[in-house]
Amino acid sequence: MIADASEALAVEDAAGELVEKLTRPRPRLMAFTAVMGLVALLLPLCWIYQIREGIGVAGINRPVFWGLYIINFVFWIGISHAGTLISAILRVTQAEWRRPVTRLAEAITVFSICVGGLFPLIHLGRPLIFFYMLPLPNDRYLWPNFRSPLMWDVVAITTYLTGSILYLTLPLIPDLAILRDRFRGEGGWRSRLYRILAMGWQGTQRQWRALHAGIGILAVVIIPVAVSVHSIVSWDFAMSKVPGWHSTIFGPYFVVGAIYSGIAVLLVAMALLRWGLALSDVLTDKVFSNLSLLFVAMAIIWGYFTYAEHLTTWYGGGEAEERVHHALMGGGFGQLFWLMVFLNMAIPLAVLPFRWGRKPIPVTLVGLCVLVGMWLERLLIVVPSLSTPRLEYTVGTYSPTWVEIGIFVGSIGSFVFLYLVFMQLFPIVSVWEIEEGRHGEH
């Protein structure tokens, strides 16, 4: 009965097929990654130009001191709620259909925070003195002022980034060990990389027990952190007296918008991965349908918040607030405002309630519409309020320069590039969680 283990097993396992599918080299994908890498270069190039020439090369000027950089900061941090929050909620509620979604959502979180977190630094104009915001001992005995909402941002985003990276990497360890075992005999850099990153994972019950406990705790901790992050981002606005910003519902409004845009990008990513990696057996129509229903719920909640926010402003009749309100409803920003409502409300509610609308292609199109709509929402929060301030003699407008647009396009390239590199190095779908689900079914 005792035999030599070197004899290969003829029967291939389902996990092995999935790993093979996820790690197979794809020349066209690699070429696309290289193109995205070139697009990503726009970000450092434009940023270096801005550092050399000064912040004056950006279009921000009195009275609109916050422009594309802050819009994109809020947008990317919002998108980051795709992963950690959604993945954590689905884990905590033990939703079985979460299994193919969690890893790809968590990766979105990590890379969108990395990209979004750059924007406040870019906006600083002098990013080299960023360390003034860190609580480092210094000879002037000058410490960060934690009573400033901007410092809350630093603290919250640092916590969120750290937590999200760990929340992505901890469940990745067993899959790294699977890759280590599969690439063991092949040698090369991949074999070495997986051996190091797997950290001696053996899959013993002691390790699984610790990992399960760890993932469970991180999931519970990360949910309030994610909520706090976007609340704090909203308080950057709401703590000021700027008309249109000084609102008590900005915290939850921003959180809802963040989850909404997060689900949008998650659906788009899922559809592209399903098509690109032939994952229709894992990212099934049912997964799309379930996430779409969550998407509809968020669309309705977002619409409710938007209505409540504008109704209160309109009914209150404050002079400065009214000017911003009129600019949005029918003034200079009216077309953008109604386009935002159309993209964020009309399209999702016209498509997603129907069974045909929850298939991958329509869902992807709706997701793209919502992404554009939510970007417009951030624009319409930042610019109209600043361009119609309380003191009317400082009224002004804003249009971004090529430097700001270059950095924005570069940020999209950076995000896609980082994501593509990650998915070619590591399983973008959690293999062990899929297997765990299969065992649970039997």
Binding site: W143, D181, R195, T204, Q205, R206, R209, H212
Partner: protein, 172 residues
């Protein structure tokens, strides 16, 4: 270290694997179990990771509170009419510090409890079976009675192992 013989058995079927592990445990043998998926039905003992998280949360929260409060006093600057150590901002920083401490300590707990920090991968033969998607158990070869319990295994083979690398006591 003296070498002892061990038996390694690989199972594709979870039910057969679980039955073999239970059978071995009933005979007083504690096998070392390897698997690419968590098998909760075989888990024994309780994790101490939550304890790490709680300690980390307390340490992180206290540190953040002290940092926010002490740095405000170290450079006294009245902002927005707030007291130097104002509840809401210090509370926010404390909240984030608590979460950060809990997260870091949780990961530390997983690394220590799972013996991941500086751990070595499984023996090559075990790794081969895991790579083929099997659930694996390793047990000291203590006679035919033990080996007979492994009848349903898809693959079984002998393994030379160091005495220092004795099977994990999962019940501990």
């Amino acid at each position: 270290m003296a070498s002892t013989e061990a038996v390694v058995a690989g199972y594709r079927d979870v039910a057969a694997f679980s039955a073999a592990v239970r059978g071995l445990r009933e005979t007083g043998v504690a096998p070392r179990i390897y698997s690419n998926v968590p098998l909760e039905e075989l888990e024994e003992g309780r994790s101490k990771v939550l304890l790490f998280a709680l300690v980390g949360a307390i340490v992180g929260g206290s540190s953040a509170f002290l940092l926010a409060a002490w740095s405000a006093k170290a450079y006294p600057l009245i902002t927005g009419g707030m007291p130097l150590i104002a509840g809401p901002p210090v509370g926010l920083v404390t909240y984030e510090g608590t979460a950060l401490g809990a997260v870091l300590a949780t990961v530390l707990g997983v690394l220590l409890e799972g013996r991941l920090a500086g751990g070595s991968p499984p023996p090559e033969q075990v790794s081969t079976l895991l790579g083929d998607g099997l659930h694996v158990l390793e047990v000291a070869a203590e006679g035919e009675a033990v080996v007979a319990l492994l009848d349903d295994a898809d693959r079984v083979f002998g393994l030379a192992t160091d005495a220092a690398d004795e099977p994990d006591d999962e019940a501990s």
